[in-house]
């Protein structure tokens, strides 16, 4: 059987995440005529999810390896702080901005490399390690900024990153798009991505197939640190400031989006587009609930129920689809993840 002639059920299954999004869209569009289904509203959804999206583009890498990176929020704060400090010290020049961005991203990558080295060389639960180090990093941010609020309202080169629109689309959305394409390309079309899936799928087998597991791990955390750092710079530009507790708690939302998007926490299964779907789902819910004028206090409850419904539907379809495996049809790797995760 060739992969191409999929049955209707398999097609539906393949695009189930899009279907869930579409269903939600239709619901909100019906409930909010002329308001939800507009260009400007989608722009605002994309704008507000761009930070999460950026972090997801990085944080998915360690999760695919079976690890986790809870430092994304802290790294974002650190890179934002360093970037802003450099801009201020350079006298708000454009060179300062370039230097600041490079330094911020560099620090993010460095932090990722350090985490990668520790995780790769010692068998430490990454969850706990990154929980502890994110505390350390937030401490370092406070040391860096001297606990001052660092305001950077010029030059335009910096503030444009967060606020400017090109062709009616805000710059952060472009940044997200570029980072998504880079990460997508790496995961799906590069040998590096193949190695990530392989190591996440079976570490020992990968090692025996000549994959340098340590290097793969270190670079995965480096990617996570780098993307978080980019997110941090975008965040500080959006807010025109560096705040020593910026992006606090973002890691929870990022991980929630990743797992809702069907990436297995055991590694080796799931896709980046799935993870982005997760954050779109959550972003759209936030937006739709606000537009419907639902009081803030009900948001958490409704979000929880809808996430459960979406994930349960996903699980149910996986379960139903698993009956097809005896036909030898094309299988989505995610389905397996669902089974493995039981």
């Amino acid at each position: 059987m060739k992969g191409k002639n999929l049955s209707v059920a398999q097609l539906l299954y393949k695009y189930r995440q899009l279907l869930i999004l579409a269903a939600l869209c239709i619901f909100f569009a019906a409930a909010l005529p002329g308001m939800f289904f507009t260009m400007s509203n989608f722009r605002s959804i994309l704008y507000s999810m761009s930070l999460y999206g950026l972090m997801i583009c990085g944080a998915t890498f360690p999760v695919l390896l079976g690890g986790i990176d809870r430092t994304v929020g802290a790294v974002a704060a650190l890179s934002g702080a360093i970037c802003c400090m450099i801009i201020v010290n350079s006298g708000y020049t454009n060179q300062g901005v370039v230097l600041g961005i490079l330094a911020g991203v560099g620090v993010g990558m460095l932090s990722g490399i350090i985490h990668g080295v520790i995780v790769a060389h010692f068998d430490i639960p990454a969850f706990l390690l990154t929980l502890a180090t994110s505390q350390v990093i937030y401490g370092l941010v406070q040391v860096t900024t001297g606990k001052e609020l660092i305001v950077v309202m010029k030059p335009a080169l910096f503030t444009d990153i967060g606020a400017k629109r090109i062709l009616e689309i805000p710059v952060p959305v472009y940044v997200l798009l570029i980072c998504f394409i880079v990460a997508y390309f790496l995961l799906n079309h590069s040998t590096y991505g193949r190695r990530i899936y392989s190591v996440g799928g079976n570490r020992e087998a990968s090692k025996l197939s000549g994959i340098n597991v340590k290097r793969t791990t270190i670079t995965a955390y480096m990617m996570s640190g780098m993307m978080a750092a980019i997110a941090g710079i975008v965040l500080s530009s959006m807010n025109q400031q560096a705040l020593s507790y910026a992006a606090d708690g973002y890691e929870n939302d990022v991980l929630a989006a990743i797992v809702v998007g069907g990436v297995s926490l055991r590694g080796g299964a799931g896709t980046l587009q799935g993870a982005i779907f997760g954050s779109l789902l959550i972003g759209m819910l936030n937006n739709g609930l606000r537009l419907m004028g639902v009081e803030s206090i009900y948001h958490n409850f409704i979000k929880g129920i809808i996430i459960i419904a979406a994930v349960a539907a996903d699980m149910y379809s996986s379960y139903q689809m698993s009956g097809l495996k005896h036909r030898g049809g094309k299988k989505h790797p995610h389905k397996q993840a669902a089974g493995e995760n039981q």
């Binding site: 520790i118 010692f122 068998d123 430490i124 639960p125 969850f127 706990l128 390690l129 929980l131 502890a132 180090t133 994110s134 505390q135 350390v136 990093i137 937030y138 401490g139 370092l140 406070q142 040391v143 606990k147 929630a256 797992v259 809702v260 297995s264 926490l265 803030s296 206090i297 009900y298 948001h299 958490n300 409850f301 409704i302 979000k303 929880g304 129920i305 996430i307 459960i308 994930v311 349960a312 699980m315 149910y316 379960y319 669902a338 995760n341 039981q342």
Partner: protein, 338 residues
């Protein structure tokens, strides 16, 4: 078994080293008042951690128990303050909410087959959402928090004459009970079996669904007990009470030897883990450090501890695997000689 014991000694040794270090550097650390206070601080997180240990041993996790604790506390506060209910009715209601919360998690994980992490993350949203919806409102409709004055609630925050808090007694009692439950009862063995190798456990006739439900209900029950003492201590429930406590509890369980893959760890380890975290947190306050250095120090000590533990483990494994080979060779020789 021997290796497990060794690990236990190591984590206990690290805890002792930390206590010693703080005792030598601060005159306030090793005082009876501080010890009782420290134990009190450890106890609420510890009670949650006991529940989480159960769920982690089954190969799962419970990110929702902190939010559930907050919900219980809010239910009690609301019933007492707004509805002016009898305190025991309020407590019973909270118990019911907790058990329902545990059943809900069990339903998501065991029946709907949602992976634990996503399931309990979602139910964390649900529970914290319910807490907000239950919250006490002022006349203008704003959410407000109120201090409770009920004597029963106050009792939960009380202590024995010599200074030991009731909550600590409850913590250790619950710890001993659940350790017994894990190690000496049928349910306990089944909990390990499901977490360690679900397939073979099921082939041996152990119900995955029942065991999962039991673990989550235990976790819910621990959240309930925790909420009583939380209210006893704070005497008010705010909309974010308990949230985030689960991370400390999970950290404690993992430091104590639980593995997310399941089947490993026990309550004694978790208690050591909780004490380690809280001794660290408490000790760091004793130095005249700036807030950022407090953070850096706390995080760094945990990282160093993890690295030390992992490195030592690696070393021991290399050593024991060699001795295991030698032992096996001896055995083969014996078999061969027959």
């Amino acid at each position: 078994m021997r290796q497990e014991m060794l690990r236990r000694y190591i984590s206990f040794g690290l805890l002792a080293a930390l206590v010693l270090a703080f005792s030598l550097t601060s005159e306030f650390f090793f005082t009876s008042n501080n010890i009782y206070n420290l134990l009190r601080e450890s106890s609420i997180v510890g009670i949650l951690a006991i529940g989480i240990t159960m769920t982690i041993i089954t190969g799962g996790n419970d990110l929702s128990c902190g939010a559930l604790l907050g919900l219980d506390a809010m239910v009690i506060s609301r019933l007492l303050y707004v509805n002016e209910a009898n305190v025991w009715i309020a407590i019973t209601a909270a118990l019911a909410v907790s058990l329902l919360g545990g059943l809900f998690n069990g339903f998501l994980v065991a029946i709907l087959r949602i992976p634990d992490f996503i399931a309990t993350l979602s139910s964390k949203f649900v529970f914290s959402g319910l807490t907000l919806m239950f919250a006490i409102r002022s006349a203008t409709g704003m959410i407000t928090t109120k201090t409770l004055s009920d004597p029963t609630i106050k009792w939960f925050g009380g202590k024995l004459d010599f200074g030991l808090y009731y909550v600590t007694i409850a913590f250790f009692a619950l710890a001993i009970l659940s350790q017994f439950l894990l190690k000496n009862t049928r349910l306990g063995v089944h909990t390990y079996a499901i977490g360690s190798n679900r397939n073979s456990a099921e082939l041996s006739g152990i119900s995955y669904i029942k065991t999962k439900f039991a673990a989550f209900v235990m976790s819910g029950f621990c959240a309930f007990v925790g909420s009583l003492f939380f209210l006893g201590k704070i005497r008010a429930a705010d909309t974010e009470s308990g949230i985030g406590m689960e991370f400390q509890a999970i950290s404690a369980a993992v430091i104590g030897g639980c593995a997310f893959t399941g089947g490993r760890g026990d309550v004694v380890g978790t208690v050591i883990g909780v004490l380690f975290l809280k001794v660290l947190e408490n000790g760091v306050l004793k130095f005249n450090l700036s807030t950022e250095m407090q953070k850096v120090l706390t995080g760094s000590v945990i990282v160093i501890m993890l690295v030390f533990d992992a490195a030592y483990n690696k070393y021991m494994q290399a050593k024991t695997s060699k001795s295991a080979v030698i032992a096996r060779e001896k055995r083969e020789k014996k078999v061969g000689a027959q």
